[in-house]
Amino acid sequence: MATTTVAPVATAAAAPGPVGNNRRWYEGATAHVVLIALLLVALYPIVYMIGTSFKAPDEILNNVNVLPRRFSPQNYAEGWIGIPGVTFGTFFLNSAVVAAGVVIGNVVACSLAAFAFARLKFPLRGFWFAIMIGTLLLPHHVLIVPQYVLFNSLEWINTPLPLIVPKFLATEAFFVFLMVQFMRGIPRSLDEAAEIDGCGPYRRFLFVVLPLTKPALVTTAVFSFIWTWNDFFTQLVYLNDLDAYTVPIGLRLFLDSSGQNAIAPMFAMSVLSLVPVFLFFLVFQRLIVDGINTSGIKG
């Protein structure tokens, strides 16, 4: 009853088959049309970026189409050496070093802290845990000035150290929290069995809990990589030397130095800069999208 009243009158009247079925088909089709149209809008900037990166110079001005008439890869060669004195190879290498350091740091340090919170009893555990949750909401802009002063006095500016070392001290509370939640789901009986066999806390961590935490470790690694690769703010603050630049900082310099004159080479480097993130997405797609479902991660 309710369904027939809701269905659009026109289609219901024109329907050859049962009204309910027709309505469903009609609605399904409309929804797909809307979803696909929206998808085109949503993906347009990305297609535009890729398309433009392959356009020859004369096409940039004349061809209003998103896709180039013929694909010319020369923008990539041009962009790669677009900044005098350095190539994007340096930037990619620097970004890779930072990202690798952050991934290792987060996985190691956060799993250590998480094991303590999730599996061990010690005085003040609840207190420390509450503080850890408190730091989750702490905006990192608040810490950037004093941290800069600290790292500056250690002469770490223009090295990857200010970007990596804090991660080895489990400052990424979000991942600690993620792993605590995950470890709490691992049956206690496994720990207890290991305890009977004479395993202390250290071996229980290494041989029982850690192997079972693998999904959370992979999630941490993947998001650490993506967030670090895309990060701009901290890298902008700590890296001021061309040779220390990472990809986002290099791109920004490219934009500032060449502006609108070198759109296509700049877009080519923009595309390249996103390739590692996109590859991670292809490989870990399920985990990234579902990981958000289960743990509320924000991308």
């Binding site: 309710a2 369904t3 399904g28 797909h32 979803l35 949503a42 993906l43 900037p45 990305i46 970026m49 250590l112 061990l120 009893k121 010690f122 555990r125 850890m132 730091t135 909401l137 905006p139 802009h141 608040v142 810490l143 000035v145 004093p146 941290q147 800069y148 002063v149 600290l150 804090p166 080895f168 001290l169 489990a170 400052t171 207890e192 305890e195 004479g198 202390g200 806390p201 895309n230 701009f232 703010f233 902008l236 603050v237 986002p248 900082i249 500032d256 700049m266 877009f267 923009s270 595309v271 800069s273 996103l274 996109f278 797609q285 990234i288 958000i292 479902n293 289960t294 509320g296 991308g299």
Partner: protein, 319 residues
């Protein structure tokens, strides 16, 4: 109790019943702090002490070269009474947050509802819609945005079709922030995925019961979907609000590191960066950081408080 009964004796030297006896417990406490030590070091060395130091710096004049010079409340005074740019930054940030967060969440919820009703192809749509969220925060996309919304940009070509006058959106003080809002809303994939997960939790019988009672689509949405989805909505509101106030990359890159035109995209974080690392007014930047922390704390508290008014948890009240 059950805990002690089940847990057997650890090593030799303790009796059967006192399995959680002293040596074991102490050993575990020590281990706890060993495991926690990197985090503790980070908490004090990289978070708490620097925070205190920045509080101290906020009462000083400091340019990194000379020692900090105590100036009392001068930085705060200047901020609130003598710095129009500060207020421009506040206005831009609030405008950005209160427009981008609702818009982004509305789009996310709308698409999630469409996807939820049409199971076919959900996986593919979900992944593809997520791509902007994945890439949107990068400098690369900010560069694309600058070109898209520039004078010669593709957006103008599209708008010209509808007879809308063309302009350099990013150079127009009335529209520049709008392009940032669109960029933020464009990344609706992440909250959408969370909405979808929440929608899946709503039992189908709820809709069937509502339909039997004569509730149409709109009523079902208003009286069934929305209340049952409110905890997830709340979660998204909290996350996006916090993120909304901290936007930096796009505003900085698109405005060429100025927050312009006419301070219209001078988000708080951009201004903080310019003061702290553009002209190395570390004291002033620290004061700005503390005001930011306190205001964000208040806003977060308000959002949490408001939750008790409109968030409906299934296990309380009428269930």
């Amino acid at each position: 109790m059950a805990d002690t009964a089940v847990r057997p004796a650890p090593a030799a030297g303790t009796t059967q019943t006192a399995s959680r006896g002293r040596p074991g417990r102490r050993k575990e406490a020590v281990a706890g702090y060993v495991f926690l030590s990197p985090w503790l070091l980070g908490l004090f060395g990289i978070t708490l002490l620097p925070m205190l130091y920045s509080l101290y710096l906020s009462f000083t004049d400091y340019d990194l070269l000379q020692d900090p010079e105590w100036v009392g409340l001068e930085n705060y005074e200047r901020m609130f009474t003598g710095d129009p740019q500060f207020w421009n930054a506040v206005v831009a940030t609030v405008l950005f947050a209160v427009t981008s967060v609702p818009l982004k969440l509305a789009v996310a919820l709308g698409v999630a509802l469409l996807l939820y009703r049409n199971r076919r192809g959900v996986g593919l749509y979900r992944s593809l819609y997520y791509v902007p969220s994945l890439l949107g925060g990068s400098v690369a996309i900010a560069i694309v945005w600058q070109t898209l919304f520039g004078g010669q940009g593709a957006i103008n070509e599209v708008l010209a079709v509808f007879g809308i006058p063309t302009r350099a959106w990013i150079n127009d003080p009335s529209f520049a922030l709008g392009t940032l809002v669109v960029l933020a809303a464009w990344q609706f994939g992440a909250p959408m995925v969370i909405f979808l997960a929440g929608l899946k939790q709503i039992p189908a019988e709820m809709f069937e019961a509502a339909a039997l009672d004569g509730a149409g689509r709109f009523k079902q949405f208003w009286h069934v979907t929305l209340p049952l989805l409110s905890p997830v909505l709340f979660f998204n509101v909290v996350l996006e609000t916090i993120a909304g106030f901290q936007g930096f990359t796009a505003a900085f890159v698109i405005s060429g590191g100025t927050g312009g035109p006419a301070d219209s995209t001078l988000l708080y974080t951009v201004y903080l960066y310019l003061r702290g690392f553009g002209d190395f007014q570390m004291g002033y930047a620290s004061a700005m950081a503390w005001v930011f922390l306190i205001v964000l704390g208040i806003i977060t508290a308000i959002v949490f408080r408001s939750g008790s008014l409109w968030v409906h948890y299934a296990d309380e009240g009428d269930r």
